[in-house]
Symmetry: C2
Amino acid sequence: MTAPLKIAIAGLGTVGAGTLKLLDEQAELLALRAGRRLQVTAVSARNRNLDRGVEISGFQWFDDAVEMARSAEANAVVELIGGSDGAAKAVCEAAFESGRHVVTANKALLAHHGTDLAAKAEAAGVSLTYEAAVAGGIPVIRALREGLAGNRITRLHGILNGTCNYILTTMRETGRDFDDVLAEAQQLGYAEADPTFDIEGVDAAHKLALLSSVAFGSRVDFDGVYTEGISKIAAMDIQYAEELGYRIKLLGIAEMNHEGIHQRVHPAMVPADAPIAAVEGVFNGVVTEGDFVGTTVLEGRGAGAGPTASAVAADLVDIACGRHAPTFGVPAATLSATPSLPMDRHTGPYYVRLMVIDKPGVFADIAATLRDAEISFESVLQRSREPGGVVPVVLTTHETSEAAMQRALAAIEAIEAVREPPHMIRIERG
Amino acid sequence: MTAPLKIAIAGLGTVGAGTLKLLDEQAELLALRAGRRLQVTAVSARNRNLDRGVEISGFQWFDDAVEMARSAEANAVVELIGGSDGAAKAVCEAAFESGRHVVTANKALLAHHGTDLAAKAEAAGVSLTYEAAVAGGIPVIRALREGLAGNRITRLHGILNGTCNYILTTMRETGRDFDDVLAEAQQLGYAEADPTFDIEGVDAAHKLALLSSVAFGSRVDFDGVYTEGISKIAAMDIQYAEELGYRIKLLGIAEMNHEGIHQRVHPAMVPADAPIAAVEGVFNGVVTEGDFVGTTVLEGRGAGAGPTASAVAADLVDIACGRHAPTFGVPAATLSATPSLPMDRHTGPYYVRLMVIDKPGVFADIAATLRDAEISFESVLQRSREPGGVVPVVLTTHETSEAAMQRALAAIEAIEAVREPPHMIRIERG
């Protein structure tokens, strides 16, 4: 058997401790699959003395993760520090400079610096892999980069954030409101104390930028991702979605056409029988469309110590076996600079909920506004009556452009009887 | 750029022609992803002059595929002849003897000779890959072998035959009977003129034996797969399943415990909300359970020229990149000889439909028989009344052993008022 693959781990939070646990418990299995042992030699974290439930006394300790990446006795560095810059980035760069492979779970880092870091890894002749950065344990990066390598990918969409999916699923199942369910998710550990990155779609946008790059062979363009979160979704919208045959999901969607790449993360209504609609709770799912393979669906646990450690281990086994793929599927220098299209170029059907004063003539004003914007209805629902009070009016449109819709929404908001900013949710075919 | 990967293709049926089409149309993309061109140099088939919709005049022609595997100017041979022995096997062996990699879509061949062929490929220092042999374009072999390499797989189950799934889905959607839907599937090209291998579960069993080997690191044991097809499923059973909250699917199930491996292919009732229940029509799906990753679901097109060619191309790109994995995840010599457990060791709940004469006392006799076998009911349904006529009685049981169930069924069949052999379908948790 070949010499062990020596591994240094930077960051010993939940995922770091889970990775140590996996590498220990599965040592024999991994050695068989990799053809050599996977041996942790060094670790680094902020606090050496924290009880993490795993023994670290047998590893060389580094206070400074960058120093570890530069000088530890290791062939591969696992970066689990997190953050889009700072120590995480420095660790990767130090590893490359000293000829070490990097495995990371850091979507923020790669969303911001992926193309650049991929080029640095290539120049150093080492791997930069990140299966754990997208959709937890689901091997979706491998699937796109290798399993579907024979296809031109035309579109992908996915549920990429378990926190949001848990919240939306629970809202639907219980009829409760967003704030209430978020508070519960925080208690259960499914949402962070500061949940902004999750609920505002930023985390999903990080992941989408990476998927998009691998799918289309384009440079990572996080700034090109249109991002909108779920904090404005009301229990009422979820009920209307159900009535209309849809479910509301926070989707990441990437599409490529001859003009460029659409990358967007926003709440979407998808048909209740679409595969992605069945991905519930903390699960993640990714649906890809390839020209030869057709539609492929991957689903599984998107976060947590076990699934994330599973993905890290898969990358380490690849390195141990000498299996290498360019970070984003093709050499960094050949990644295209295909432009990301602005959101106002999007077209599709829309759901709009308006809170209006229940009096004659209001709907005529709304209808006139939409007519002026050349937007046609598919359906209109006004279930409750409360003369003189405020009631919801829900409408769905046929396909129209985002630009037209935004103009119409601004005009509708200006109507005196419309008492709240319109609640708009895009409808996707799933 | 490195020299092209030279490819010889044996067998130019639907999949062979599809593979030529893909390699031609995606040539630039594949070259980018593989770092070198994928160049077909030689082909072989039974009939040189058939119009296949693809140009083959630029390739060296071989009447004899084995001769091609031995002497063509090729680094890799794609075996698309089919069949568990004969030319297909000889082609693989000739390729290994002459140091050529093999990519195959042939599940029958590997189900019967997989361990042996894997050893021969290893001895020759070449790859033997078969992503196309299981679940068409879904990259499930890669997912198990590489993406989930950090996990001990405890169980997997899947819909592995699109023909059966199309038939069962159509039966459910239309209420029509098996023979009728099979005839239609044959007309549509979803079923072969001789559909035996598909509808009797043999094709699914071939695939299950391969998945099982990769999942558990065990020798391929096709003979250890219990196999039962769908030809006895009646429209009535599908209706009862619906009423009881289940769907009927032909499942391949592999489980490993401390005693050995259970491998079985049979119709199963799965909860209507289980992920596998949502895999409909010609789609395939595989659900795996790993100790760290939890449940992962993969779904997509399980057959057809495009999806199968997609899987062949993925294997070729791996070879072109020098990415190698042992055929069944670990070196052939280390595959375990874990025994396959006989079906009578299975335990689970059961659905049984009896056609009985509608007269007082019949059910008491049935109940006594089940009591004697120590099997307890979960539910009993007798919807229709037709005094003196034959009516269905449906019962579901709590968990019991297959051995006890088979004894009880034999005893029930001997009851005079029971007019048909009992219709038994196993219930799975999905």
